[in-house]
């Protein structure tokens, strides 16, 4: 089960434009699932799903914390969190997903944060403090809008450098990138242009890809897929496959006995012949040729490329 029901226990506006939200388990559990530092929480924000980095303790934490920047021109998720969400509200979320983990072999962690990109960086710094890891943190933010500065200062002490002017940050970055001991890994999170600059300069200064890690917000969200309808050729009946429900789940729910095992698109058990419509392949099992032939699909992960699909279940 990947679903998580959370209740809002606290709201805070630490700096203009940023809202921090604290969640506990809605069922009263004392702890929430442990997560890898740098993980993000996928939250249902009044109909839109958004991903927010977790900032608190990672091991059996009593609460989850996120900090959300208000985006007036976004799709509405952050506005909902700022304007609609209240203490006591229950929200649907998914188990945290890790896509920006600390490198275990790193002998130093060079952490670069820009604006609200500080959130997964804070998570890294917290873990580094607990495990005694060597960190160096550069945090660039607009004057008066540096979220979590006090916490970072407490955790990282003089290993934290703050920059409110771009020129100062860029100059210092040049020095820092050119003088890291072998074994250092770089992590960067912030506005796209800033991340592109940091990564480009690092590569130009000889950093190999294996030492560069970045978290681009809003991209690594689970794709529940577009809704479609599926017709079973033998009976002619048509079923709805809503967004977030797999074709396999829809068929099983309708009473069809489809062999299945991994539910991840790797084992090949749930292979179903396609006799109408075009499959949208999302599996790791079929070969490129088989995918192109478009006459079969792995129904546990794949969907329809278009509004309808017809399958044979004989």
């Amino acid at each position: 089960m990947t679903a998580l029901e959370l209740v809002v226990t606290a709201l805070d506006d630490p700096v203009p434009g940023v809202r921090s939200v604290t969640f506990a388990a809605a069922d009263g559990s004392e702890v929430l699932p442990t997560y890898v530092p740098g993980s993000h929480l996928v939250v249902d924000c009044g109909g839109r799903t958004n991903a927010y980095s977790l900032t608190g303790d990672a091991v059996c934490p009593p609460t989850y914390s996120i900090s959300v920047l208000r985006l007036d021109d976004g799709a509405g998720g952050s506005r909902w969190i700022h304007d609609e969400l209240s203490v006591g509200d229950v929200v649907e979320a998914r188990l945290p997903r890790s896509a920006f983990a600390p490198a275990s072999k790193a002998t130093r962690h060079l952490l670069v944060a820009g604006g609200i990109g500080v959130t997964p960086i804070l998570s890294h710094v917290r873990a580094a403090d607990q495990w005694g890891r060597d960190v160096q943190v550069l945090y660039a933010h607009r004057e008066g809008r540096g979220a979590h500065v006090a916490e970072l200062r407490e955790l990282a002490g003089d290993r934290l450098e703050l920059y409110t002017d771009q020129a100062g940050f860029v100059a210092r970055l040049e020095e820092v990138l050119a003088a890291q001991p072998l074994g250092t890994h770089l992590y960067v999170c912030g506005p796209t242009a800033m991340m592109d600059h940091v990564l480009a300069r690092a590569a130009e200064l000889g950093w190999p890809p294996s030492r560069l890690h970045s978290e681009r917000f809003g991209i690594d969200v689970l794709d529940p897929g577009e809704p479609f309808t599926v017709t079973v050729a033998e009976s002619g009946t048509t079923l709805d496959v809503p967004s977030g429900t797999s074709l396999l789940e829809a068929l099983l729910e309708a009473g069809h006995d489809i062999p299945n095992l991994c539910r991840q698109g790797v084992c090949g058990e749930c292979r179903v012949p396609v006799v109408g419509g075009r499959p949208l392949h999302r599996d790791l099992f079929l070969t490129e040729d088989e995918k192109e032939a478009a006459d079969v699909l792995m129904c546990c992960v794949s969907r329809a490329d278009g509004p309808t699909l017809e399958v044979s279940l004989r």
Partner: protein, 182 residues
């Protein structure tokens, strides 16, 4: 036997190496390591091609001593360094182990084997290592316990040794029979 490129044996350590890929030139500095005459030659060729870039050399005739110098150089190195190793296969495997253990990532490392020569075979039964002139699938005598070892297509990254195990373990010595413990 499965295709060697699907095993832990690096391509440059196989009996018939394919054309070596070009070494990466995106580093900020280069650490060139050479063992033996051909290793030194390769290091000189690389250094010429890299003129204008910061280059440090670690050369010698014995992989053990070169390994000590390499470890020392890596302890002082900065991110941006690229390590290139040239020498006989066994030296390359051993020095790759030194580099890996010092934290060098695969995309910071380039290896060019200059000759076959001896390889190190680790006896899984007595744990001693024998330096032998042999190739994968050969049978060699373990210098530690005397067993006949098959040189298996399996190489340890950390030590650079090939796995050896007793080829005739399933043959019962003459005149003996197995008993079942009651």
């Amino acid at each position: 036997m499965p295709k060697l490129e699907h095993t832990s044996v690096p391509l440059w350590a196989t009996a018939s190496p394919t054309v070596a890929p070009e070494p990466d030139c995106g580093g900020a500095s280069y650490l060139l390591v050479g063992v033996g005459a051909q290793g030194r030659e390769q290091v000189a060729t690389w250094a010429d091609a890299l003129s204008g870039h910061p280059v440090a050399r670690v050369v010698g005739d014995h992989a053990d001593y070169v390994g000590v110098d390499l470890a020392a150089a890596l302890a002082e190195a900065q991110v941006g360094v690229r390590v290139r190793i040239a020498g006989p296969v066994s030296s390359c495997l051993a020095l790759r182990g030194v580099a890996v253990n010092a934290g060098v990532e695969d995309d910071e490392l380039h290896v060019a084997a200059t000759a076959k020569g001896t390889i190190d075979v680790w006896c899984s039964h007595c744990t001693s290592t024998s330096a032998v002139e042999a190739e994968i699938d050969d049978v060699v005598r373990c210098r530690g316990c005397g067993r006949s070892l098959l040189v298996y297509h399996h190489v340890s990254r950390r030590t650079g040794r090939f796995l050896g195990f007793q080829i005739d373990a399933e043959a019962l010595p003459d005149g003996l029979s197995a008993e079942v413990a009651s």
